[in-house]
């Protein structure tokens, strides 16, 4: 069970949160004109990296904010959390 530092509420246990998957993949520009492949890319294709992962979480049982977490998918270590609109922190090397 992860310990997630909500950028608003502080460290809370994972069961208070809802996971939102990979962060920062964006709809294609002019998405209504995007090709089926580009659209499928947005809808379904994911980096799913073995290593550092930028991901989305919502503090559903707490402040109900969505925010971002940089977490390692092997060690589960969390290197940083940030709010919507914050500059992206670097991934640890």
């Amino acid at each position: 069970m992860l310990l997630i530092p909500c950028p608003y509420c502080g460290e809370r246990t994972e069961s208070e949160f809802r996971y939102g998957g990979e962060a920062h993949f964006r709809r294609p520009e002019n998405h209504l004109e995007a090709t089926d492949e580009a659209w499928a890319d947005y809808l379904f294709m994911r980096k799913n990296p073995k290593g550092w992962h930028r991901e989305r979480w919502m503090h559903i049982a707490g402040c109900k904010r969505w925010f971002y977490v940089v977490r390692h998918t092997v060690t589960h270590r969390i290197s940083s959390v940030y709010k919507v609109g914050d500059p992206l922190p670097d991934l640890p090397s």
Partner: protein, 192 residues
């Protein structure tokens, strides 16, 4: 007015187990609750109407006189007051916020408020609440939303030890049963 029915009126059965009781459980029935959402200047404007600034520090609560504001999120507060004060409180908010974008919603009936008090209130709550409840980190002046068992709840420590648990109305029966069951170990008394 018609008959009012608090969330637990049909669950609550006084006369719980006898013996030494380390915890007392009670239903606060109706606690006036207004959910307030807004940002920027609206927040300042509310301060003027309430007579105190809304708490902006996470998980804290500020109150004076008739109302208390509990931080719920960066743009969200729960204002609590006596049940019969809420219309007036809401009006004050609406007046103060006229012209701002905000949402002040009476949610009094949305939540039941259960109170557990007594020397063993903390270990009873700790059976299902993942928060660090030690007085070091969570005492009067704090408030937090978290889980109790499988219910979400807003937890407000009270003077003299114990907590008010604000829980969605439909979960109140579950939480009540849960607390009675959790408290059995310490002896639990139902206060009516």
């Amino acid at each position: 007015m018609t008959d009012e029915c608090a969330p637990l009126d049909n669950v609550l059965r006084p006369g719980a187990p006898s013996g030494p009781s380390g915890v007392a459980l009670s239903d606060r029935r109706f606690v006036g609750q207004i959910n307030l959402r807004g940002r920027g200047e609206a927040v300042t404007a509310v301060g003027a109407a309430l007579g105190y600034a809304l708490p902006v520090e996470a998980n804290t609560t500020v109150g004076s006189g008739v109302s208390r504001a509990c931080w719920l999120g960066p743009d969200e507060w729960l204002l609590i007051c006596e049940d019969d004060q809420r219309a007036e409180l809401k009006k004050r908010l609406d007046d103060a916020l006229a012209g701002h974008a905000y949402a002040a919603t009476d949610v009094t009936d949305s939540r039941a408020v259960l109170r557990i008090a007594g020397a063993c209130a903390r270990p009873v709550l700790a059976k299902g609440c993942p928060l660090d409840l030690s007085a070091r980190s969570f005492g009067v002046g704090h408030v937090a939303q978290s889980l109790v068992g499988r219910a979400q709840a807003m937890i407000l420590p009270i003077e003299g030890g114990g907590y008010d648990l604000f829980v969605a109305r439909s979960f109140a029966g579950y939480l009540w049963t849960w607390l009675l069951d959790a408290g059995a170990e310490y002896g639990i008394r139902v206060q009516t």
